[in-house]
């Protein structure tokens, strides 16, 4: 009998909790977007960059008059949830944003893995999503129609570094196919995708891989892999593993005095690379979607450099590209709303598909799979404690220093 009563109370509790649904999509003069970002868990650093990027652009857009649809001006608002850096939670939250909070316009989470979990949900409900932080190329092979990524896919992150090395070798009269490549990648969707791109690139040049290590996600020590690198003396060492991997790598490479002619990585700036490691970081090649020294600009933020100043003024640190991408995602939404002049999700999808715009972050236009074709990746090298763009040639502000000086000669 008592158990029965408990059961009844419980069930009525569930019903009660569910009856307080707040429907939101467009109410009054507010357009509500939804985003699951990683506020806790292993991606929380970059999750924070992502959220800051969204917030900055939202406030800036609202201050600049909001979004004009049908002659009326709307303010943007964003509902955030914390996906705890796990795909399981991210998928649930996407469902929740769409079905309970009535969100019709989605922004992406941080990282490829989480985007992979969210994309099937948005696709199912035919909710357009502009995502700024999911670069894994398998995202673009599932035929998703409602997902638009404003970044370059992950396989292109470091492929250009391999090309640079090949060019440098040929300039010295050596054949590119004589080069040896060492790869150390974290075992997660993003880094493994970067690896695929690198593998394709070095195979194109006929190079040989001498080390191909995967690191577990909880890595704090890669000395075994680096010892292998020392033993095999490769010409290029490529490392990718989010901020944690970048920080561990640079520290141990300098500690162990690993001498390689070329060292390339991802996530240098979000790891606070040059600030934290000083000299140890010198001559490293870093892949980035964006950098403040690039010559892109738009009417809202001004130039890339202006964006960096604005961002720093609000959040007190230099914007990593993760933040810039996120800000740009909101600009893409605004553009789509204003071109579609509608809040209909299908019309918005079609508008998004034909996006062609310039932002401080770069040119944006999507191909049929939803990835951005408008801008290339950039590679910079840390020189004298500064990030200098070395590739692509169009933006190169300095010449690549190659090979890296040996540790004993510094």
């Amino acid at each position: 009998m008592r158990i029965f009563n408990i059961g009844i109370v419980l069930l009525s509790g569930i019903f009660l909790a569910c009856s307080s649904i707040a429907f939101a999509k467009v109410t009054g003069d507010t357009i509500t977007l939804g985003a699951a970002v990683s506020l806790t868990g292993k991606y929380s650093t970059n999750g924070k960059h992502t959220k800051n990027g969204y917030e900055l652009a939202k406030n800036k857009l609202n201050a600049a008059g909001g979004v004009k649809v049908g002659g009326k001006s709307y303010k943007l608002d964003i509902i955030y949830y914390d996906d705890e850096s796990t795909p399981a939670r991210a998928a649930q939250l996407a469902e929740r944003l769409i079905k309970q909070d009535g969100v019709k316009f989605m922004l992406g989470p941080y990282s490829s893995g989480l985007t992979k979990a969210i994309a099937p949900v948005t696709e199912k409900y035919k909710i357009p999503m502009v995502e700024a932080n999911g670069a894994s190329r398998s995202l673009f092979t599932k035929g998703y129609r409602y997902m638009f990524a404003i970044l370059t896919s992950a396989d292109q992150y470091l492929a250009s570094a391999v090309d640079l090395a090949a060019a440098a070798a040929e300039a010295k009269g050596k054949s590119a196919s004589s080069l040896k490549v060492a790869m150390i990648f974290e075992n997660d969707p993003f880094s493994q995708d970067v690896r695929l791109g690198v593998v394709e690139a070095y195979k194109n040049h006929g190079m040989k891989a001498v080390v191909d290590d995967k690191l577990p996600k909880n890595i704090d020590d890669m000395s075994a892999s680096l010892a292998k690198v020392k033993a095999t003396r490769p010409d290029i060492l490529i490392v990718s593993g989010h901020s944690k991997g970048a920080a561990t790598a640079i520290r141990q490479i300098s500690q162990m005095r690993v001498d390689v002619p070329m060292l390339a990585m991802t996530h240098c700036d979000s790891a606070g690379y040059k600030e934290k490691f000083g000299d140890a970081a010198e001559y490293t090649l870093c892949a980035a979607q964006w950098h403040k020294s690039l010559s892109y600009s738009d009417s809202l933020f001004g130039s890339a450099a202006d964006y960096a100043v604005t961002f720093k003024g609000v959040y007190n640190y230099d914007p990593p590209y993760q933040a810039a991408e996120s800000s740009a995602a909101l600009q893409v939404w605004k553009d789509a709303f204003e071109r579609a002049q509608s809040f209909d999700t299908d019309k918005l999808r079609d508008a998004l598909a034909v996006t062609k715009m310039q932002t401080f972050y770069g040119n944006i236009s999507f191909d049929s799979t939803g990835k951005n074709l408008g801008k290339p990746m950039v590679l910079f090298q840390v020189l004298d404690g500064k990030y200098k763009v070395v590739s692509p040639p169009k933006w190169a502000s300095t010449k690549l220093v190659h090979p890296r000086p040996k540790w004993s000669e510094r």
Binding site: T40, G41, K42, Y43, S44, T45, K48, N187, D213, K214, L215, P216, N218, I219, D220, D221, M222, S223, A224, S225, A227, K228, K230, A231, T232, S243, K244, A247, T248, R251, Q255, M256, R257, A271, G272, K276, S408
Partner: protein
């Protein structure tokens, strides 16, 4: 296969692996010794061990940020964590100390989640390091590297371990701790304030973890979510060595450290965690089997 060939072709890799393993093992042994202390005296398996280590690392990191050499972080982290440990004992642990082992296991698990998340909120999820600024030594024509910080780590671990053993052997509190470990009820009858002993034991363990953490921040890197491997390694070492067996702890610690390094070379680093954990499972099952032969069970 290639990996094994590489080991044979480049013998200095083995030297490197053994050196790294021993130094890392010393670090693990220290945390493991603390865990054995708590386990033996209080019958609590502290899942939050790794979080204490990381917390200690943050103390060293903040000293470093404040411009103080992180070596000072070793004693400071010890003191700070001692206080933290005492507080946690008074608030949570003393309520579960006499309960079922599984209850205390869960309680410390809750603590570990709590500490992790609070660290994330307070310090951020960035990877942090406290650079000690020591140099590096080389052997075999630059092929084997020994960062000095690792040597320092080894020496400090050994020194702290020895200090601890002497303290437990000689001091009054140490004697009370040993008496309580053998038979808490008898100790209570003999007028030992076991509650105080428990509080001190738990705080002492936290202090050891804190010092270990300071070394970790200088040798490796810290961030809020990297505690669990330290807990698991400590646990492995303790079961392999048995409670209250310091030479065993050191042997098991360095053994695991070296085994891990070689596993890295042979199976690839992506299986490192799997290797450690499967080793744990295999060891337990093997011990269970051996005891079953004597018609006993692992209890």
């Amino acid at each position: 296969m290639d990996n094994i060939l590489l080991l044979i072709e480049a013998p200095f890799l083995s030297v490197q692996a053994i050196l790294d393993g021993i130094i890392i093992g010393a670090l693990f042994s220290l945390a493991a010794y603390g865990m054995a202390l708590v386990w033996g005296v209080m019958r609590i398996i502290n899942i939050a061990q790794g979080e204490f280590v990381i917390l200690g690392g943050y103390v060293a990191y903040f000293l470093y940020e404040a411009g103080i050499h992180p070596m000072f972080g070793i004693p400071v982290a010890g003191v700070v964590l001692f206080v933290v440990g005492y507080g946690l004992y008074k608030v949570v642990i003393y309520r579960v100390v006499d309960k079922d082992l599984f209850i205390s296991l869960l309680a410390t698990f809750g603590l570990s989640i709590l500490i992790q998340q609070l660290m994330n909120i307070m310090f951020g999820a960035d990877v942090q390091i406290a650079e000690a600024g020591f140099g590096t030594s080389f052997m075999f024509d630059y092929n084997v590297t020994i960062p000095h910080i690792r040597i320092v780590t080894f020496i400090v671990s050994a020194f702290l371990g020895a200090l601890l053993v002497i303290y437990i052997k000689r001091s009054r509190l140490g004697q009370a701790i040993r008496a309580t470990a053998q038979n808490a009820r008898a100790a209570r009858v003999m007028g030992i304030d076991t509650d105080h002993v428990y509080a001190m034991t738990f705080s002492l363990n936290a202090a050891i973890c804190g010092a270990t953490g300071a070394l970790v921040a200088m040798t490796f890197a810290i961030h809020p979510y990297i505690g669990l491997p330290y807990t698991i390694r400590s646990f492995m070492i303790v079961i392999m060595a048995g409670l209250g067996n310091l030479p065993g702890v050191i042997a098991a610690g360095t053994g695991i450290g070296v085994a891990e390094q070689f596993a890295d070379y042979i199976f690839g680093a992506e299986f490192r965690m799997a290797f450690i954990f499967l080793l744990l499972v295999a060891f337990l099952v093997w011990r269970g089997r051996m005891l079953a032969r004597k018609r006993e069970v692992l209890k």
